[in-house]
Each structure stands twice: as structure tokens, then as C-alpha cells.
């Protein structure tokens, strides 16, 4: 009997609380999530909803307080060392790396943290520089780059090792239209090259989620309150207007979830 292909990401009742000066803050309250291989899955939610906490758990930076999570078939708690070979993360507004290094050098440095053979790394870097329209900037120090160029370099870093699962945490935040479009196009192209590649994207740009994502999960107050394709989510908000957008659906669903929660606690 053929073995079922493992899901790219699966979480069961995933919870996370933070303890700060005696207070207990619940960031995630039992999230059940399944992301299929090859999917571009978007996570939407208001600020503080728990999206980034979820990502941090999945990339092994944080331990869950309860429940379980697997990425590419590996448990994020028990198998975190093996898992780290298979994932990469790019966050918006990153200023990682060392300002004194040139773009090409910076990418090479990060490639070595994954044990890439130096020549293979250099070939891959040239390929990514070209694809992200960074060839001319390759010899410029990272400190001299614009925000948009910097973020393209960050994306190149994320793609260097061709991870099985790529986590993009608000990758287009503060980018202009052109730079954001380049990032989106490259993500789409990268995924199209291999059906086994998976992307988990958090964003506040509804248009971006609508355009890129196969499915979208909406997180509010640490819970996954809705999940569907962008078109499916829009259908859920039909009563709100003639042609509801993803933003309408988002506002409708988050609002409904908050009301239900308040009614339940009243």
C-alpha cells in the first residue's frame, strides 16, 4: 500500500502562552492546521493575533506550551535539529547580516551555515541575483541598499538552500509597489519549479494574500477562526456587500469571531 505523502505542516491543538511579570498572555489557543505539500498558505490576522508566534514555533525558535506541530514530517520539538536543514525564514523589515559585506558575500556567508559547497553556493547565488534583479548590486555593501533591494537580498537568502518549507513573515512590509511585486513574482516562480515546495506566508496585505495564496487561514486571538481558498472566504462574506473582497471577508470573519467569543464569555 502506498504511504500517504506527509503534510508540509500539521499542528494539533497548538498552544503558546507567555509569562510576563506575573501575567499570562495567551498567544495561541489550540490551533489545528494542515498545510499540504506544494501549497502556498497564507496566514492573516490582526496585530497580536498569534501569526508570528505560530511561525516562530514552526521554525523551531519557540517551544509550544501545549499541543504538537510537525513540519515536513518532523516534530518541531523533538526533531528540531534535523528540521533546520529543511526550512528557511524571511521576515519583513529584516536588517540581518553585516553591513560591511557586499551582497554576494553576505549570501555566501549564510549559505555556509547550511554546509553548502562553496562553488555550488556561488552558482546558486549568481542565479538568484539575476532572478531578483540584483546582479548590478552584487558588489555593493548591504548597508548601501534601499529597503526594497535589501528585502530582495533577504528573499535570496531564504531561497539559497531551496528549503522544503519557506516561511515568509510579512515579506513585503514597507516595500514599494515594484519591490513588492518582484518579491511576489519570485515566490510564485520558485514554487512553480518544484511541486514539493511549500510556503507559509503571513501578511497584512489582503491583495497579496488573494493573489498568491492557494488557501488562507484567518487567525484571531490565538485561534484559527476560518480557513478556505480566497474565493471561498469571500463567499462567506457575501452578505456584506455585492462583491466582497478578501478584506471584507477578513473584517467580517474576525468581527464575528470576536463577537462570538465575547458572547460566550459574557
Amino acid at each position: 500500500m502506498a504511504q500517504a505523502e506527509p503534510l508540509a505542516v500539521v499542528t494539533h491543538a497548538l498552544g503558546r502562552v507567555y509569562r510576563q511579570r506575573g501575567d499570562v498572555v495567551t498567544a495561541l489557543a489550540g490551533v489545528d492546521l494542515e498545510v499540504r505539500r506544494g501549497e502556498l498558505y497564507g496566514l492573516l490576522g490582526p496585530n497580536g493575533a498569534g501569526k508570528t508566534t505560530l511561525i516562530k514555533i514552526l521554525v523551531t525558535l519557540l517551544l509550544p506550551s501545549s499541543g504538537s506541530a510537525e513540519v515536513d514530517g518532523l516534530d518541531v520539538v523533538r526533531d528540531h535539529r534535523r528540521l533546520r536543514w529543511r526550512i528557511a525564514m524571511v521576515s519583513g523589515g529584516e536588517s540581518s547580516g553585516y553591513p560591511v559585506l557586499q551582497v554576494r558575500e553576505q549570501l555566501w556567508m549564510f549559505s555556509q551555515l547550511y554546509g553548502m559547497e562553496s562553488r555550488a553556493a556561488k552558482r546558486r547565488i549568481e542565479e538568484l541575483l539575476e532572478r531578483l534583479d540584483l546582479t548590478e548590486a552584487a558588489r555593493r555593501p548591504v548597508s548601501a541598499l534601499s529597503t526594497g533591494m535589501r528585502q530582495r537580498v533577504n528573499l535570496a537568502r531564504g531561497l539559497l538552500t531551496d528549503p522544503r518549507v519557506l516561511f515568509l513573515d510579512e515579506p513585503t512590509v514597507a516595500l514599494d509597489v515594484g519591490a513588492a511585486r518582484t518579491v511576489r513574482e519570485e515566490v510564485r516562480r520558485w514554487m512553480a519549479e518544484d511541486p514539493g515546495r511549500t510556503v507559509i506566508l503571513t501578511t497584512h496585505h489582503m491583495m497579496e494574500a488573494d493573489e498568491l495564496c492557494d488557501r488562507v487561514g484567518i487567525v484571531s486571538r490565538g485561534r484559527l477562526v476560518a480557513e478556505d481558498t480566497p474565493a471561498g472566504l469571500k463567499r462567506l462574506a457575501r452578505g456584506t456587500g455585492p462583491q466582497p473582497s478578501l478584506e471584507d471577508a477578513f473584517v467580517h470573519l474576525v468581527g464575528r469571531s470576536m463577537r462570538e467569543e465575547e458572547e460566550a464569555s459574557a
Binding site: Y18, R84, I87, S91, V100, L113, Y114, G115, M116, P163
Partner: protein, 278 residues
């Protein structure tokens, strides 16, 4: 997926070596690109050492004190490098967002720190050599030629132990967050005194000298002084000092590994320490 997740000793060793060399790279590349270091890292320390020589001369100290100052002035560079560019570095890396990228990579923090050490040693050696050569020529210091080779051996052993200690400090400084800055200041000047940078540490007594031996420079410097300036007052014999340094190397490396594991576990549990502050 590029790279390998194979276990086994060789792939792991290769990964950690590549990581160390990669992390050393920014340190080495900084040298020709940020030329201000020629002033801040060479000229100013050189002037400081020269000034100290003149202080001893004004006090009519024996000529070998010039040698003590030159040796101390050279070795001082490594302690400052360990404190400012290694112990503090993980804290700065956290603020840049590098630390979380290091944490989610398969590379170990110890390899990252080894890279910082290698890069730090390379850049600091330029400063140390500049002080050593310039002052030796300027003040006609007479070194014992026969002691040069063993002194070089002791020097390398001292650096290995010193940067091992630097790795322990890096983990501790990361743990204490913003207090790292104060810790660095607290460790800088007292160690200059206790380690006997400008005079034989025996002058402070055996108890203080013994306590100061926690910092490998104390013993290393004392041994090098004995080898290059025969007749210098010694804390203990060179053999003992080498033996203690040889124990300190693995001891500090193991302590650093343990401390880094604890920091990582605490970071994953508490959600701080490693992640870029928002």
C-alpha cells in the same frame, strides 16, 4: 533542497568548519574596508603603550619593564577583542536579527563563536604585531631568542583558552541582555590590573595571581614573560602554567557548549534571548 542533513561525524564537522570560516569572514573583510580601524585599533593602542613605557622610564624602572609593557600592550588587544567583539557580539547579533537566523540554521552556536574568534584573532593580531614590532624597535627591547618558539606555542595555547572563555562570556552576556554592556566594562579594567598586563602578576601576591588565572591571559602572559625576558618574577613555573592552560582549553569549550545549550533552551521556552526585539 541544497545541503545535507546527514548525520555522522564528517558531515557535521564539515558544516561546523564552513560555518566558522563564514562567520570569520566579515571580521577579516572589515579590515581593508573600514580604514578607521588603523587609527582606533592600531595607532591609539600604540600610543597608549608608548605612554606607559615613558611612565616607567620616568620612574627609572629597570629596562626589562619596557619589555613587560610591550608584551602587555600586545596581549591587551586580545582581551579587549574577546570582551567587545566576542562576548558582546551575540547580543548585537540578536538586535540585528542574525541570531534567530543562526538559530534556525543547522549550524551550532559554538561554530559561530569559533568563527568570531578566528576572525577576531586575525584582525587583533595585526594590532598586537604592530605594538610588538614598533615598540620593540623604538625602545630597543632585548628579547631572548631561544624563548621565541616556546613562547609562540604558549601564545597559541593562551589564545585557544582565552577565546574559549570568550565563548562562555558570550553565552552569559546574551543571557543577561542589556547588562552585557556593564559586564564588559566591569571586566575590562580590573582584568588589566589583575592579569598583570604591565607588570609581573606576582607583585599582587599568589592569592590574587591565582584567582586572576581564571583569565588565561594571566598565566599566558606570565609564561611568555619568563620565556622572552628571562629572570622576570614568575607566578609559577612555565610548565605549570602551560598545564593549567591546556586544561582550560577543553574546560572552557565544554562550559561554552553547555552554556549555549542552556541559552537556546531558555530562549525557546521563554520566547526571548535569541529573537530580534520587535
Amino acid at each position: 533542497m541544497i545541503g545535507t542533513e546527514e548525520g555522522g561525524a564528517w558531515p557535521q564537522l564539515r558544516l561546523q568548519l564552513r560555518t566558522a570560516l563564514a562567520r570569520a569572514y566579515p571580521r577579516v573583510r572589515t579590515l581593508p574596508r573600514e580604514r578607521s580601524w588603523l587609527v582606533t585599533e592600531i595607532t591609539l593602542p600604540l600610543l597608549g603603550t608608548i605612554a606607559m613605557v615613558y611612565v616607567y622610564r620616568a620612574l627609572q624602572a629597570p629596562p626589562r619593564f619596557t619589555g613587560f609593557v610591550v608584551l602587555g600592550g600586545s596581549m591587551l588587544a586580545y582581551w579587549q577583542n574577546v570582551l567587545w567583539s566576542m562576548a558582546n557580539q551575540l547580543y548585537w547579533d540578536r538586535h540585528l536579527g542574525n541570531l534567530e537566523l543562526y538559530a534556525i540554521s543547522p549550524a551550532s552556536f559554538l561554530a559561530i563563536l569559533a568563527g568570531m574568534a578566528i576572525g577576531g584573532m586575525a584582525s587583533t593580531t595585526v594590532r598586537a604585531a604592530a605594538v610588538m614590532v614598533t615598540c620593540s624597535l623604538l625602545f630597543q627591547v632585548r628579547w631572548e631568542p631561544a624563548g621565541a618558539l616556546p613562547a609562540a606555542g604558549v601564545f597559541l595555547l593562551t589564545l585557544a583558552a582565552l577565546y574559549g572563555l570568550g565563548s562562555v562570556l558570550a553565552a552569559l552576556f546574551l543571557f543577561y541582555g542589556r547588562e552585557a554592556w556593564h559586564l564588559t566594562s566591569a571586566l575590562e579594567e580590573p582584568v588589566h590590573l589583575l592579569a598583570g598586563f604591565y607588570f609581573p602578576v606576582r607583585s599582587l601576591g599568589a592569592a590574587v595571581g591565582g584567582a586572576a588565572s581564571v583569565v588565561p591571559l594571566t598565566l599566558g602572559l606570565d609564561a611568555i614573560r619568563q620565556l622572552l625576558l628571562p629572570g622576570s618574577p614568575a607566578l609559577v613555573g612555565v610548565g605549570w602554567e602551560v598545564a593549567v592552560l591546556a586544561v582550560q582549553v577543553p574546560l572552557y569549550c565544554l562550559a561554552a557548549q553547555r552554556a549555549l545549550d542552556l541559552v537556546e533552551m531558555r530562549a525557546r521556552r521563554d520566547g526571548q534571548l535569541i529573537m530580534r526585539p520587535s
